[in-house]
Structure formats: C-alpha cells, structure tokens
Symmetry: C2
Subunit: 421 residues, 2 copies
C-alpha cells in the first residue's frame, strides 16, 4: 500500500476531551509511519482544507502531542461551518479534493458531531467519484451526547461530571443560605434539543431531598402551572429548590422558551432561559432566586474531566486511524456498552451513513413520569460516564495546558478559495 | 479557669473553605476539652443563637469533622442577617446573652466578613456590659477579599483559582471557535465593590495575547468609548477577545451598570452585567458574543480549591480557639504575608475594632494605567494565593462532601424570639 499523508480536523463546539482524540490520532499515526507519512491538521476545521491552511503536526514534539490529552479547546481550531449539498455546492468538494491531491493526502479524519459525520461521508463519496479515493473516518465528539449508534459521545462524560459537581456544590451553597437569602437556584445547561446534559445534573442527587429537585428537559414541553406546583412542593419539603434547565426547553407548541438569534448553521442560538425561569418564580411564587449560566465553562472544564471520557476520546481517535490503515472507509468508531456494572465498553465500527445528521434524544423511559426528573434506567446509563478523575498537571496553581507550534504547511495551490461564497 | 461551652456560627455568603475553618475550630476545641466543654453551632448563623436553635457538634464523629475540611457551603447554615445597633436593637443583644447564659457559653466564634466582625465586636462589648463576659473571636471569611488588616481572606484564593482556571479554559474554547463563531467571551464575576476576584482572572494570562484581554473592575468607572476601543484593539490583535467583568462595575456617576434589587442587608443584589456588556459589543462592534455567569459556582467550587486557601482557612479557625483560651478577647486571627517568593505567611492577632465594617478595595497601584488590567505588583500579590490543589475525595465520580448529623441542643428558654422583628 502506498504511503500517504493524512488530514485531521476538529469541528463544531469544542469539548474538554476533543484534543484527547487528536492525541489518539496523532500518536497512532506516528506508530504507523509506514502507511501515514505526515498528519496535516486543518486550521479551523474543514476551512483549513478549503483554504489550504494546513498545520504540519510532524514538527510538534512528542511531549506536546502527549499534552493534548489533558488540554481543552480544539488545539488546531474548530469551525461552525457545514459543507453544502454535493449537488448545489460541488465546487467546495472539488476544492477539497484539489487540496488533498496537492498534499498527497490519502486519509481524512474529521472529529465532530452529526454534521461533521455527514461531511466526512460526503468527502468519502466525492473522492471516489472524482477518482481520488481517500479513506475517510469520522471521530465522534459532542457534549450534547446526541450522536446515533455510539453508546455515548466523547465530551459528554466530562460535561456531565462538571455539571453534576457544580450543581452539587451550588446546592450546598443554597442550602446554607436559604433561611435568610436565596431560596431557589437555577442552573442553565447547554443542549439545544437533547436533554442528556441536563439529565446528567440529576447524578448530583443521591438521597431523597438532594438537589436537583426539578429538571426542565427539552424533550418535555414546558407547562408553567405544573412547573410552579413542582417548585412549590420542593420548597415546602426542603426549604429550598434547585432547578437545572436546558437552554433548549420548549413551549407546548414547540417554540424555544427563550428566543434568540441563529448560529452559522441556522441552529437556534439560545441563552437566557435561567433568567426567564427565575423571573417567573419570583413573580408567581415570591421566592428569592439566583441563577448561573456556565456557558463555555461546561464544555471546556478539562480540570474536572471524566477519566472514562478521556479514555474513550483517545480510543476513538486511535481506532479511526487503525480502521483507515486497515482500509475501512466511511466509518466512525463508536463506543459500545458491554455492561453497566461493572462498566465495560469496547469500540465498534459504525457506517457513517447510519450516523450522519442523526440526533439521539433522551428516550422516554429515561424521563420520570412527571417529566421533571430521570428514571433509574437513565441513572444506570449516565453514572459510569462520569467516573474517575483525570487531572491535568498544574503550574503556578493553574492547569498547564498545551499550546502547539502550529507550523503552516507551504501552499501548493495558487488559487485562493472563498469558503464563505 | 472555668470550663465553658463555645458558640460557633457561619455568616454571610459561603465559600469553598469556610467549613475548613469550622474544622479548625472544632478539632482545636476538642484538643482543649479542659477549657471548652462542647461547641454548639448556631443553625443559620447568629439566627441560631437568637432563636436558641443550636447544634451539638460534640455528637459528630471525628471523621465527619475532618471531612468538613473538604466540603463547600456552610455546614451549619449561614445567614444574611446583621444585628442592629446596640442602641436601637438592645433586645437582640440581650437575647443573645440570655441564650449564651442558659447554655453556659463562654466563648463566641463568628466566621464571616466585615459585617460579622462587627457583630462579634458588639457581642464582646455587650457581654461585658451585662456582666456576662464572653471571650469573642472573629474568623475571617469572604470570597471578596475585602477584609481589612488580614493580607487575604480565606475563601478568596479558591474563588480566584476557580475563576482563573475557568477563564483560561473558556479562552481556549473561544480561540478555537472565533474564526467562524463566537468572537468575544464575557465572564461575569461576583464582587460588589472590590475588584479582587475580577483581578484574579488576570492570573490566567501568562504571555502576550493570553486571555483575559480586558478587565472591568468596580474600582474603575466604566467608560463606554474607551472600553469599546480596547475590545476592538484586542480583537484586531488576537482574533478574539475575553473580558472579565465585575458584577459591581459602575458608571462614572457611581451607579451600578446593571441595576438590580437589594439583599437582606440592603446591599445591591446584582447580576446581568455580562449580558448587558455583550449587547453593547454586539450592537456597537458587530461582534458575536457569548457570556457566562458562574454565580454560586465560583464561591462553592471546592473541587478546585486552592491548597493555600484551605490551609489558611483551617489555620484561622484553629487560631481563633487558641486566642480565646489564652483569654484574648475581641480579636480576629489575620493572615500576615512574610514574603511573596517563596510565599510565606503566619497568623497574627487583629483587634476587631480595626476590622469591623471596613472594606479593602484594590489599591491604585494594582490597577494598570489604562484601568483594564492589573500591574505586576497585583500579580505578585495574587499569584501565591491560588497555588496547590487540595482535591476532595470522590465517590462514583462526584466529590464526596460531608453532611453532618446536626443534632439539636435541647431548648432551655421558654420564650421564643422573632429575629425579624
């Protein structure tokens, strides 16, 4: 088999562990230097490929590559950019193949969510069609945990651990203050459509009365009367009430409770629902509220990453390279759960066609009968994903995160390409 | 000397380490059982004394007391409740003495901020005046770091470590996304009047260009034109801009930028300034922004507490008991800095009269010339306070925080007391 270069890029919202997947890709590629010459990373995801803005990872030290395993963010830059349909935006795909041909790229690894798996799938199709076959593998990543086939998505476990820990800590705070100060605390959680991250907050509760007392999931239509009754009941029982609300919670007619603008993908850009919920509670129940919106903190909190999540993120990166050099094309390494207790898992091969553009919501049997909590089945699913601490090294009291050299690969094409066309 | 019981209570907003002070008090008191019979904790601070709602700490196990050192919140409950002046609210003070006499209390330990040191001071005065002398010691605590005399306040170092870490992590996120998505990130930081916590965010930056790029401190009047120019400049230089804004930032005429309601002490209850700042940037500069408000998360984040902070919190609790049994009255253990590098400190005795109701703001020489950053002097002061990790134990992937038995002491008085009168 010919020795070729590989392309690797990161896409979509970052996670605490997407760089652990990068570490898995790069370390495994270096172990297979007979098949993979160099790995070129796209600067800012697929845009780096379109604009021939490539980073030569071969000049990064072994230590720097190893440090990616404990570094949040996306080391090579990510993007919110979705390729159009092959039919309408053929020039984009032809450009990708032109760049890949110029740099002798025979392997394509794209690390992202459902949209990115779709892109990977299309690159695989078009490269074959254009007679320049590139072996393509998707690598799963999303804090939203909404990818199909894979039992869980790398990034989710760490966000879940951060959220459950933070909620438990804030609940200790609230419980201490509620006699004379704040009585209700609302934590706003990322997740447009799927309630996995909000559901994970429930792991903070171990005993009757433990916070959170109310979850507002995007899968359950918001009913103001039932919600206020639930809050009132919790407050009467426990003297305070902790609520985790998904930014994506919707009215009965399917509108986001908190209207906002749109992101580059045409996805709703949310935020502010915690403030809205507290205003409602203050006005209707007369309770004093505080709210928190961790926003990016929840998807970047490498300092409290889940050890299982880090291991799985690394494993899918490694498996993607191993699949590719075995000639497996248009696949994504997926995590398969073998048992809950003890938690056991392995990696299996999922066809990209089965993953692309799918969205996995919380199943009905994971949501409690009243819609404000999770079931034991959900708890059995969620609990193993936050287990283990994988602390980064610290220097001067702060996590010592890697910054790479990011040396650009010399351009070989003369034509520029406007990806925003 | 007679053997007496002691009263201990926690007051004001909690911190990640106020229970470490409680641990210092309780363990040290147990070592001096010849002088201190039992420690009764006030349930919800001084309100527990007024309402004779006392917790018998002597029934808590050694393990439970030890676990306080790694548990956030306020284990016995805190309060936002300030005693009135002795002149106008004499009944409150007489009630305290009545309760203390009934329970044979000869020592009073109050763990809080400037208001609490004032309360402690008054209890000391009135007890002597009423012929029932109680040895009183304040124990410093506040994430705001605004207490006088003491070089720093227990609770601050952990909030500072949490904030600088979180900001660094979110900045990695932003840097990865800014090519096609969010360009500006705003972190809203607690602190009504003093900018210590906001200043601490600057520790996240090590090199030119590192986040945060702009601080909005409550000590510096907000100037919209200069602020927008600063953001524009940072965005041009680095391709993104990270801002840490104090909830207490004020207009040139001294009004809070974000108006809000008031808390039980008549302090302004703030929040929402991050959203206001991002609206301004979006409207005037056309940049895409995200914002985060960690709220209680920042003062409860025991999972990323500063080891130095935990040690100091414990030490002031221990010293308060040692001062009291040595007969030192109306004092507060204060932290004295002996050197910056290596960081060395000890505990000295501060008279409550010098601490009560004082507020220590950022000194002018800690604020950079343009008002949007900190100086090297500030960095030398702040840096040692976040050093060292003091991880709590974990169980099932979450911090294993202590919950106490909190057995009530039998009431000895027949008269109830309405503290809200």
């Amino acid at each position: 088999m010919a020795r070729k270069n590989a392309f690797y890029a990161q896409s979509g919202g970052v996670t605490a562990v997407i760089n652990a997947s990068a570490c898995g890709v790069l370390q495994t590629a270096r172990q297979h230097s007979d098949r993979i010459a160099k790995v070129f990373a796209g600067r800012n995801g697929i845009i780096g490929a379109l604009t021939e803005d490539l980073i030569d990872t071969s000049v990064e030290s072994e230590a720097a590559i190893a440090a990616l395993k404990h570094t949040p963010g996306a080391a090579f830059g990510s993007c919110r950019y979705k390729l159009g349909s092959i039919h309408e935006h053929r020039a984009q795909y032809e450009r990708l193949i032109e760049v890949f041909r110029a740099h002798d790229i025979g392997f394509f690894f794209y690390n992202g969510g459902g949209d990115s798996q779709d892109t990977t799938h299309k690159v695989s199709q078009i490269s074959a069609e254009l007679g320049e076959p590139i072996v393509c593998a998707g690598i799963p990543k999303t804090v939203d945990n909404d990818l199909a086939i894979t039992d869980c998505s790398p990034g989710f476990g760490s966000a879940a651990k951060y959220l459950a820990t933070s909620l438990r800590e804030a609940a200790f705070d609230l419980a201490a203050m509620s006699r004379t100060s704040t009585q209700v605390f609302v934590l706003e959680v990322m997740g447009r459509h799927a309630g996995w991250t909000t559901a994970a907050c429930a792991l903070a509760a171990e005993h009757e009365g433990d916070a959170p007392h109310v979850l507002l999931l995007p899968e359950v239509a918001f009913n103001v009367v039932r919600f206020l009754a639930k809050v009132t009941d919790a407050f009467k029982r426990y003297g305070h009430c902790v609520i985790a609300v998904s930014e994506g919670v919707k009215t009965p007619d399917g509108q986001f409770l908190s209207a906002g603008s749109e992101d580059a993908f045409g996805h709703a850009q949310l935020g502010g629902v915690a403030s809205l919920i507290t205003s409602l509670i203050s006005a209707k129940l007369g309770l004093k509220c505080h709210w928190a919106v961790p926003d990016y903190l929840q998807r970047s909190a490498r300092h409290i990453a889940s050890e299982i999540d880090v291991e799985q993120a690394y494993a899918v990166g490694r498996a993607a390279v191993e699949y590719a050099i075995a000639g497996r094309n248009a696949v994504m390494p997926a995590i398969r759960r073998l048992s809950d207790t003890p938690y056991r898992w392995d990696i299996i091969e999922a066809p990209l066609s089965a993953v692309a553009n799918k969205e996995k919501l919380l199943p009905p049997d994971f949501i409690s009968a009243d819609g404000f909590g999770i079931t034991e089945a959900a708890r059995r699913y969620l609990a193993p994903l936050i287990v283990g601490e994988a602390y980064p090294p610290y220097r001067s009291g702060l996590p010592d995160y890697a910054k790479l050299e990011k040396v650009a690969v010399g351009k070989k094409l003369t034509r520029a390409f406007d990806f925003q066309e």
